[in-house]
């Protein structure tokens, strides 16, 4: 261990819950036995039983609470500070949603309860389906997928079902070179081959490249608009025409929907299939890596293939889970989707209403453009130029290339130094198209002062690097641990606590 740093968090030895274990300690008190005490061997023959118990920790309740509360303090979180992580829409997570989702009528409802006893839940899901259809401009919704990439898988499998139903075997799916990694990974899982489409100098899809690559072997083009560069593609209706003329579907990666709610709609742009990230635009807290939910909305021609079940309303106003959809692709998971997430997103939509959703997107765009303008000021702009000098939507990309050349620090160094300033850095090294990229998404729920403070911090870090680049190169200093050796972790993986 290094000598004391004066930072109590850094001086604290890292101990896992297993290392706190002592024989004889426990938190749980079992209910008193009430049924006859039949010998276990009579119920479950020894041959079917495990040889030794799972080596779970032996710890008291106070120890568990203290252990995890202390661990929690080793996390940075959205409720504590600015989190402009591009493509992730780290907007405020309203506290009302946690209270509503915890109501026993929602949280203690069993998924196999029959429809007559789940009318409130089904109505909520029905209303959410309607709201998402309205926001996307695509009338048919399945709430089932569990996250964005799961929604992508649903969408590509729907594309496959659509083509197969017409006896049309196709094998290629186009993705732009700016696409998120989940897009090409999904394409492979769904049995298609990826072909990349290039990006034009203005940041939009390279139409000539698209025209060269489209054919009757192409099943789908997966796109997000605004793109992962934060730019709205003005050629979208032409792109849709090219794709549809070739008989392919157009898929909308909804990770960037926060830019356009109530302003324009994927359905009106010509998209056939959209996924939503309810954990981005619709405020489900990210939980340190989930849960999320990735509902999809589709056009009429895709609707027959939607996963089962969907929530339907009968003539008499009762709601039911509709499993009777003969052309459905089937299921992508158990039960009906991440209902607890639906409660939160539905609460959000109820709170904001039509006007509020539009206003949220407007302010998201306003905040991004304002922060982009702040980044152009002397002291920042010459080192971190914006990659595409146009109005952005809800996020924008900076290039750290000049910074690396001028100051000798990389985007990674800048990001690590931001940690010392109390900020979560933007997304780094994505999109890969831009050298040393930073993707900055401030979101609508941040104040002007926060954006200005962030710009000031970046200016300070760059000024400091001009004097001594090693400060950033060796950052961070104040965090619970300093820069970690990721290469060593991968070379010699220790991925569980070793036991005696």
């Amino acid at each position: 261990m290094p000598a004391s740093t004066g930072n109590p968090m850094q001086d604290e030895a890292v101990v896992t819950i297993y290392e706190r274990s002592r024989p004889g300690r426990a938190a749980y008190v079992a209910p008193p036995p009430d049924v006859p005490d039949v010998p276990l061997d009579d119920i479950l023959p020894p041959a079917l039983r495990r040889a030794t118990p799972a080596r779970l920790p032996q710890v008291s309740e106070p120890e568990i609470v203290r252990h995890y509360v202390r661990l929690s303090k080793r996390n940075f979180d959205l409720d504590s500070g600015f989190y402009p992580l591009g493509s992730c829409t780290m907007k405020h997570n309203p506290k009302l949603h946690e209270r509503a989702a915890a109501l026993p009528g929602h949280s203690r409802l069993h998924p196999l309860q029959n429809d007559t006893h789940t009318q409130g839940a089904l109505e909520l899901m029905f209303n959410l389906q309607h709201a998402l259809a309205e926001v996307s401009g695509l009338p048919h919704v399945s709430l089932q997928p569990s996250a964005g990439s799961h929604g992508e898988l649903a969408g590509v499998l729907l594309t496959r079902a659509y083509h197969e139903a017409r006896g049309d075997a196709r094998e290629i799916i186009l993705t732009p070179d700016t696409a998120h990694g989940t897009n090409p990974a999904t394409v492979t899982m769904a049995g298609y081959t990826v072909v990349n489409v290039g990006t034009a100098p203005d940041g939009g899809v390279d139409l000539d490249d698209l025209r060269a690559k489209i054919s009757d072997r192409v099943a789908c083009l997966m796109l997000t608009n605004p793109s992962t560069l934060g730019l709205f593609d003005s050629n979208i209706t032409e792109i849709a025409r090219v794709v549809h003329d070739a008989g392919a579907t157009l898929y909308y990666d909804g990770a960037n929907l926060n830019a356009v709610m109530g302003l324009c709609r994927p359905g009106d742009m010509g998209f056939d299939i959209v996924h939503f990230n309810l954990h981005k635009s619709f405020t489900q807290p990210h939980g340190g890596g989930g849960p999320g939910a990735g509902p999809i909305a589709v056009s009429d021609r895709i609707a027959p293939f939607l996963p089962v079940p969907v929530v339907a309303r009968d003539q008499d106003g009762t709601f039911r889970l509709d499993h009777d959809r003969p052309q459905s692709i089937g299921r992508l998971r158990g039960f009906h989707g991440n209902y607890g997430v639906f409660v939160r997103s539905y609460a959000y939509i109820c709170s904001l209403g039509a006007e509020g959703l539009r206003r949220a997107s407007q302010v998201a765009v306003l905040n991004a453009n304002y922060l982009k303008a702040l980044m152009a000021r002397p002291g920042i702009g010459e080192h971190l130029p914006v990659a595409y000098d146009r109005h952005c939507m809800h996020e924008f990309v900076l290039s750290g290339g000049p910074m690396k050349r001028n100051l000798g620090i990389r985007t990674l160094d800048l990001a690590k130094r931001m940690l010392d300033y109390g900020y979560h850095p933007p997304t780094v090294y994505f999109p890969q198209l831009v050298d040393e990229s930073l993707l900055v998404e401030p979101t609508e729920t941040e104040t002007r002062e926060t954006l200005e403070g962030f710009a000031d911090a970046i200016a300070e870090i760059l000024a400091e690097a001009a004097v001594d680049p090693d400060v950033a190169r060796n950052a961070p200093y104040t965090t619970p641990v300093r820069r970690l050796d990721e290469a060593a972790a991968a070379r010699n993986p220790v991925v569980r606590q070793p036991m005696d």
Partner: protein, 457 residues
């Protein structure tokens, strides 16, 4: 209307001026006129916080939850007691509101939780490596099949008839994408027969997939099933109930290559089916084929112990179309709930809970099957759930028990097991006492009496 915004008219002025535009609309110059929304979205107007809360409470009241009746529903999700410390910890902003830990120096809490969670799953399953969670149970089955596909490119998945119906359906849908198909092996007296399995597998079999305990509650003989799978060179996958693993021979002991399962019984709410988490563990031979996030131990620049996301060259953000999975956002917070519940139960408590459930389940089956008109669907060992066949309309019995007794006796099997038109799947948890079980028995007796004309007791 709550909108969580802070921008004032003054701010707007200053910001537009700094950007260099006259009005907000100028910022949208890239959006062609013909696709801009002319009117408003067709959604109700926004509401105050208290109004929205009232609306959501009204909807909640129209559901019959496990607080409103004595529920014996199971079939993949169970009404276990969730200790209070789970709520207290998972609702902390520091766990609730961060993103996936892309900046490890400020995410040590979440990363260490993943490491501790992976350890717990390895201990439960007896396998070498666990990831940090997948979405949920049935899609975890499909994820395991995709791992097998990556390894052997054999397109056929042989599954037990008593694999969860949603897992079968999910596998069918997902595997169709990569050209895989599903073949089912029927049950014999409630379990998958190793002989039937041996006859069903062949050189095209990519994986054999069974459930432990199976959907009808029966404990399978995993060892003999694994042997049959391996003789055909197939990957052996078991979808396991995590609480039953307190007692049952581990997948690792039984030769299973990949164990998956629905994590809800560990510390997670029912939530009408989600969010919960899926777990996925495997032998070390599959390390480079694992899907999703994995936390690993390392050291920092000063030699301190720390944790990072590791083995990332498997993942979509690096490997793109060559990734082992497309999963990105998973179920970190739900996995935290799982590890908290397990720590609270502890080494002895976990086993004690398993034994309690086994005894109560055994008792409930004996008592129910003592009623004329109730026969066990199979006589195999059961540890948390069992299936019976009723001599009467199962839906009428369920409705009678709910209406007249405030008891939900379980899940009707007919939709998924047409061979058992009046089959009922009954689950027992530590929250269902002997008195509750006795009340269930009285209710079913009275329901059968009422529905088949026997004298009610």
């Amino acid at each position: 209307m709550s909108d969580y915004l802070a921008v004032t008219d003054d701010d707007l002025d200053v910001m537009l001026r700094a950007i260099g535009v006259a009005s907000f609309d100028d910022l949208l110059d890239a959006i062609p006129e013909e696709i801009r929304m002319k009117g408003a979205l067709d959604l109700p107007a926004g509401r105050t916080e208290q109004d929205v809360m009232r609306h959501l409470a009204d909807l909640a009241r129209r559901n019959t939850s496990c607080d409103d009746e004595t529920s014996f529903l199971g079939g993949g999700m169970y009404d276990h007691y969730v200790p209070a410390l789970v709520d207290a910890i998972v609702s902390r902003s520091e766990f609730l509101t961060p993103y996936t830990p892309y900046q490890p120096e400020i995410s040590q809490g979440g990363l260490q939780v993943m490491f501790e969670y992976q350890t717990a799953i390895c201990e439960l399953t007896g396998l070498d490596i666990s990831n940090a969670s997948v979405y949920e149970g049935p899609s975890a089955v499909a994820a395991a099949a995709y791992m097998a596909w990556g390894q052997n490119h054999r397109p056929e998945y042989v599954v037990s008839e008593a694999l969860h119906p949603h897992a079968k359906a999910t596998l069918r849908t997902t595997a169709h994408g990569w050209g895989g198909r599903v073949v089912e092996v029927p049950l014999r007296d409630g379990v998958t027969s190793a002989d039937d399995l041996a006859a069903a597998v062949g050189p095209g079999t990519g994986a054999v997939i069974v459930q432990q305990p199976n959907f009808l509650g029966a404990v399978e003989d995993l060892r003999s099933l694994s042997d049959a799978a391996h003789r055909a060179g197939a990957v052996m996958v078991a979808s396991c109930d995590p609480i039953a693993l307190s007692l049952l021979a581990t997948p690792g002991e039984c030769g299973v290559d990949i164990a998956v399962g629905e994590g809800q019984p560990l510390g997670n709410r029912l939530d009408f089916g989600g969010p919960s988490f899926g777990f996925l563990a495997a032998t070390s031979a599959f390390t480079r084929r694992m899907p999703g996030r994995i936390a690993g131990q390392t050291t920092d620049a000063d030699g301190r112990r720390g944790f990072v996301l590791t083995l990332q060259t498997r993942e979509q953000h690096i490997r793109r179309e060559k990734a082992t999975s497309n999963i990105c956002t998973a179920q970190a917070l739900n996995a935290l709930a799982g590890v908290l519940h397990l720590a609270w139960l502890g080494r002895e408590g976990f086993v004690g809970l398993g034994e309690l459930l086994a005894r109560r389940t055994h008792y409930a089956r004996e008592q129910l099957c003592a009623i004329p008109g109730v026969t066990p669907l199979h006589t195999r060992p059961v540890v948390r759930e069992f299936a019976v066949e009723l001599d009467g309309d199962v839906n009428a019995v369920i409705a009678h028990c709910q209406q007249a007794h405030g008891i939900n006796p379980g899940h009707a099997l007919a939709a998924d097991f047409p061979g058992h038109p009046n089959g009922l799947l009954v689950a027992v948890t530590e929250q269902r006492t002997k008195a509750d079980i006795d009340a269930l028995v009285r209710a079913v007796r009275s329901a059968l009496g009422a529905t088949v004309g026997e004298v009610a007791v």
